[in-house]
């Protein structure tokens, strides 16, 4: 290897959707090799975010959408009286910022829950490229459509379900998404605090904590701080209100 250390670092940040194991979940899905190279040419991979760093904030000028490559990011709105409502937690392969297209300004804030890497996709160039690559345009519609679907699932979650159903649905949803990424569906680390879970689900931190304890007493799960093990996935499914747990937001 003749590359100097310096050069190597630059190489590390060069984009290669072709080699990215998330390609099938992300924007490149369904593109041919040649088209993939065109798409890569407009994508920039930036220095990873540290825990607590902002990806974008409410009011920021919108110029690009972002694809999470690793880590976890929370997206939230801040109300006039200062407190926040978390709208979703985003894992690798998911696109952020699509809701900012209309107003050309970000309407939410995105913050890294842990060290997270991401790709930046300038929107105006993406739009141009969609005109050239119908497959890419179709994938954009699909991804936006999917986000609409998952938002609808969230509405159902908040509107109809009890606290216990909310928490179990949340766990199963997370489990499903992690499994899709190749991780264990039954053993993982929660990237967010109880506070953040409660906020997302429209519950208090105490209620979340109590329900975790209750699920643990029933031997459905086992929790050590943020490390969680699902010991009876079927039982959890049954608590979700019959269906569901496959939403992706």
């Amino acid at each position: 290897m003749k590359l100097s250390h310096q050069t190597f670092n630059i190489e590390k940040f060069k984009v290669s959707c072709a080699n990215c194991n998330l390609a099938e979940l992300c924007l490149p899905r369904g593109l041919e090799k040649g088209d993939l190279e065109k798409l890569e040419s407009i994508i920039k991979r930036a220095k990873p975010l540290q825990r607590g760093d902002y990806l974008f904030r409410t009011g920021d000028h919108f110029h690009a959408i972002y694809a999470i490559r690793s880590g976890a990011v929370k997206v939230y709105k801040t109300t006039s009286d200062g407190d926040e409502q978390i709208l979703g937690f985003h894992l690798p392969g998911e696109l952020l910022g699509l809701d900012a297209i209309e107003k050309k300004k970000h309407v939410c804030t995105a913050l890294a829950l842990e060290t997270s890497s991401y790709c930046t996709i300038p929107f105006s160039r993406l739009e141009e490229m969609c005109n050239l690559l119908p497959g890419l345009q179709n994938q954009m519609y699909r991804l936006m459509s999917r986000e609409l679907s998952t938002d609808n699932e969230s509405l159902l979650l908040l509107g109809k379900k009890s606290a216990e159903e909310k928490v179990t649905t949340f766990l199963i949803n997370l489990s499903t998404r992690l499994h899709l990424l190749g991780y264990s569906a039954t053993e993982f680390r929660l990237p967010m605090s109880r506070q953040e879970i409660g906020n997302y689900l429209g519950l208090t931190i105490e209620t979340v904590s109590r329900i975790f304890s209750r699920l643990q007493n029933k031997k459905y799960i086992s929790i050590d701080h943020k490390q969680i093990q699902i010991t009876d996935l079927d039982a959890l499914h049954n608590l979700c209100g019959g269906r569901n747990g496959n939403q992706i937001t």
Copy 2:
């Protein structure tokens, strides 16, 4: 007028986005006259729906999106145990069915709350046309982005707000949207039942009714069945939790 009665009826259903007073709110927004004609060529205007008619149902094959021209439509999901969660009420100028693109199947049901007319826009032809008309493609992104934004507002509504805040936010939202359509912002007819309002807001019919009564006692509104008059819009705004009420779902 030389047209026979027969001919006149056919003419009535011919599309003309150019003459549609909703054009600036709907898909044609921002298109030049020539491009508008191209768009019109793929749009079909169908016979109006009667109250209780379905526009589409969960599981239906997705082949087109729909634009409401008049009336009001509710969109809901049905849970496995049979009851429904209403996701939104749609007024003229709004697009329906965008959340079905990904799965190529409708994931919700859309039902007319009153006599409603609409346009049908075949999606595959729309996609082709977006490749030819960058302005149209941009408008599609904007409209989908806006729906994502309004879904987020709904999440905030369901997650953070009290029953009173939910109901007042709902009223102000409706008032704002009707005003945008050229109707009175302070006097209108609710196209949905108390039951449906409660379902949408995650409340029972009794709670909705009580809050309407309370708002009436405070002289903020005046209700006669479905006919509603807002007598103190500012007071309602203050009840919303400081901000908000500008979501469009």
